[in-house]
């Protein structure tokens, strides 16, 4: 019996270029809600995305039929799509000189999740869910654990072979408190899993998962009895589980090269950033240092090669507030060089699975730590608010006018933390906001966050991204609260 690799190389057509990206993914999602375990949800997925460059055009075909005939049929589909696109493509894909690299990657995984039996995992979730039961005012509570193992083999002509494997762990705790006609939701790190990392059970330890249920429920109770966040212009401190969203929406997306090139204008949108800005545009204050960090240990979107087969390396995206390079891979960089010769990018073209073609994504996009302690930042504020944990996000087509909301706020008065406030929201304009960055937290405030749910692309793709950041202080933000 031939190996998959042998079958692919045998079925590959005579073409300017081809690739085969095989993905196999197994996952398990467990939930205990109100002390009742829900049926475990398992998934076993496998398939291959084939690409062919022919006559300057690019065609893709994805199939879960991994037999020789299935591969031949899919290669034929990809070739046909390239053929009918020839002379009608946005770009001559031969110019991209797509990589034919070899190498590998494997997630850190100190304590594999499989070491716990299903019963043990449910026991853990029961304990966490139970610990969030702080009385009748807690009307709902849930603990969840989502583990995924992904393997990917990327084959290209001339023996190119990249083998990567990832383990992802996504814990979740949510508590809902209701009192006095109001209801408030508090979560461990966001209702959409802001704490998510590569690894095994050590991720749960880093999250403090087993001990966190009562804190989440207690803060839900604090919120439901708290006043609304006041309205006005004031300084804000954003903690890492809100910084991740601020980075994601107002730095990450606008710097995606395919958005700048217009590919996403029908769906996700365009960007206020233009190719001429790279190298000199002041994106934020001098304190803003943003890195593309595919090598960050355990971060959610760490890898060695992107899905065009390019080797990924750490690069500055914004240095001392000045825009350096966009988030775009091999094809996008080659297209952009027609418009801005010499522009560079990063290897970050990725697909969410075997059934979607790769597009420019964020990967790990991090704000680097500064030198302020959290206490320094709080002490520097006479009237402001500290915000934790994203709950609402909206930003315009060009990634300028944003409005974000958080689960939990603490007023800062006279340099000291004061009362809890609920529904803290703020709005602003991306570039003006980053230029108001006044203090950047030190390594002691730095946390590795991310999201499993970055949506983009046509066809749509939800992909994993990582955002690590310290706490940061911004001056004169437009802040407001809820309706009552």
């Amino acid at each position: 019996m031939h190996s998959f690799e042998e079958l692919v190389r045998k079925a590959a057509p005579a073409a300017d270029y081809w690739s085969a990206r095989w993905v196999s993914e197994t996952s398990e999602q467990l939930v205990v809600r109100r002390d009742v375990a829900q049926a475990p949800q398992r998934q076993r997925d496998a398939g291959v995305m084939l690409s062919v460059v022919h006559d300057g055009a690019l065609g893709y075909s994805a199939t879960s039929d991994l037999s020789e005939s299935g591969l031949r049929r899919a290669f034929s589909n990809a070739m046909e799509l390239a053929r009918v696109s020839a002379g009608r493509s946005v770009f001559d894909y031969r110019e991209a000189d797509l990589p034919r690299a070899s190498g590998g990657y494997r997630s850190p995984n100190d304590k594999p999740a499989a070491e716990l039996s299903l019963a043990q995992k449910f026991d853990l979730l029961h304990e966490v869910c139970d610990s969030a039961n702080l009385g009748d005012a807690i009307v709902d509570r849930a603990a969840s654990l989502w583990t995924t193992h992904t393997e990917q083999l990327y084959l290209t002509p001339d023996g190119g072979r990249i083998e990567q494997a990832w383990d992802f762990v996504v814990p979740g705790i949510t508590a809902v408190a209701s009192a006095g006609g109001d209801t408030q939701v508090r979560s461990a790190a966001g209702q959409y899993n802001g704490f998510c990392q590569q690894g095994g059970l050590e991720v749960l330890e880093r999250a403090g998962f087993a001990q966190d249920g009562s804190r989440v429920a207690r803060e839900a109770l604090e919120l439901v009895h708290a006043p609304n966040c006041p309205q006005g212009e004031m300084d804000v401190i954003l903690m890492p589980d809100q910084m991740m969203l601020q980075i994601h929406e107002s730095i990450g997306h606008p710097l995606e090269l395919d958005r700048i090139l217009g590919d996403e204008r029908n769906f996700a949108g365009t960007s206020f950033v233009t190719l001429d800005m790279f190298g000199h545009y002041r994106y934020g204050s001098d304190l803003l240092n943003v890195s593309y960090a595919p090598d960050m240990p355990a971060q959610f979107a760490s890898f060695s090669f992107d899905d065009e087969g390019a080797a990924a390396s750490r690069e500055w995206i914004i240095r001392h507030g000045i825009l350096q390079r966009p988030l775009g891979g091999t094809v996008s960089q080659a297209r952009a060089r027609h418009l801005r010769p010499g522009i560079e990018g990063v290897a970050t073209t990725r697909a969410c699975s075997w059934n979607r073609p790769p597009i420019d994504r964020m990967g790990n996009l991090n704000v680097e730590p500064g030198d302020s302690t959290l206490q320094d930042m709080i002490s520097s504020i006479d009237h402001g608010v500290l915000m934790r944990t994203n709950s609402s996000w909206s930003i315009d087509d060009s990634r300028n006018k944003f409005q974000f909301g958080c689960e939990y706020g603490r007023m800062i008065r006279g340099g000291k933390l004061a009362e809890v406030v609920k529904r803290p929201n703020y709005r602003g304009i991306s570039s003006a906001f980053w230029r108001s960055l006044a203090m950047v937290g030190d390594a002691g405030t730095f946390e590795v966050m991310g999201t499993p749910y970055c949506g983009k692309g046509e066809p749509n793709q939800v992909i994993r991204v990582g955002h690590a950041a310290p706490a940061c202080k911004f001056t004169n933000a437009s802040v407001f609260g809820g309706a009552r």
């Binding site: 398992r42 039996s117 909301g405």
Partner: protein
Amino acid sequence: MMRAEFDHLADAVCQPVGGVDRVTLYYSAESSDFIRFNKAAVRQATHVSQQYGTVSVVAGARQASSRVALTGDRATDVEGLLAERALLIGELPLVPDDAFLLLPAEVLSTERETAGQLPSAAELIHAVVSHAAGTDLVGFYAGGPVARGFADSRGQRNWHRVESFHFEWCLYRSGDQAVKSAYAGNHWDEATFAAKVAAAREQVELLAHRRRALPPGEYRVYFSPVAVADLLSTLSWGGFGHKDVQTGISTLIQAHRGEAAFHPSIFLVEDTANGIAPRFQADGFVKPDAVPLVAAGRVADTLVSPRSAKEYGCKANGSHAGESPEALSMAGGSLHPADALAALDTGVYISDLHYLNYSDRQACRMTGMTRFACFWVEDGKLVAPISAMRFDDSLLRMFGSGLLGLTQVPELVPDSATYEERHLRSVTAPGALVEGFRFTL
């Protein structure tokens, strides 16, 4: 992805097994062409053939499920699903009892097939290159057959297969100025597509007028049916689910508590009979033709999943676990669409909205952006395109005290989403004239 293939898998897998009360299979498959364009040229052309089977076993109050990629080869897939079934059966003793597990009591089989006439990739690309030549067209075509199926060991069989396409595109004039168009259906007609592109070419010229920047404040606005559908899609995210009402996090909780109401002319229905979604959900519950959600401005029924039905002691009504509508429909009003601008008189025509979210879920307050061809209107005439504006307003206010009128015939707006698979949801909505819409930035 034909019925015979599904039946073959179902007959092999959904058999009575010792120690197990029920075996179910949920099937989801598609063979899709995905072609994206930028500057009226091909950016990515992709064909995806995918099939998944979710096999589930139940013993007493215990259930375990697994979703498995299928290859399309019958023997291989039967072997894979039987192996998965065996694994799940072995795992059941480790699964705690689920006090809220509920399965259908009745056996209700359904079938719906809609054949179509779809363009080949070559025909589609030729049409775009021919009719959009010289334009900055950016868009996305998704087309091909989509199938969903459900089977269980009691003999229930549900089948839904449709051959359809959905093409959405923008004609850009400059910067972020564009006119968005859509063409969706079962029978592709190149002349219809050409006419839509030609109409968009004319409309995009309206954007040539100097753009007007509006200061934040309250405005009289007209929402196109597409914009209303966007608002209703956001309301679908947490507005109608029974669990959300019971736990108090429903975004319509004020209405459920009697503290707020929509305008008496508002009727919202989960209109399965007239939608494009399957009539069944993954557990095998079959949906009623319609579930009234808002009647004469007052909240009515909720969407009840099997789990919520068991947990809260009420009757399930075919909702999936997420309890969001799949065929939400708002009734029309008395305003003739041709009179909409005249009725607006002076204000803002809003064609499209973007990136909606809640800014205060308890108050049903939403924020989002205007997008594409939105215009300042004076004396019932389009005067100038507006810069993109952020809004923050309560939907209960907008479609309550702020509602001035709805257009007569609601439009069906199919969901173009393709996350994991091509979605089969839709929202049917009229245009709406609203007073005091709040722009904030």
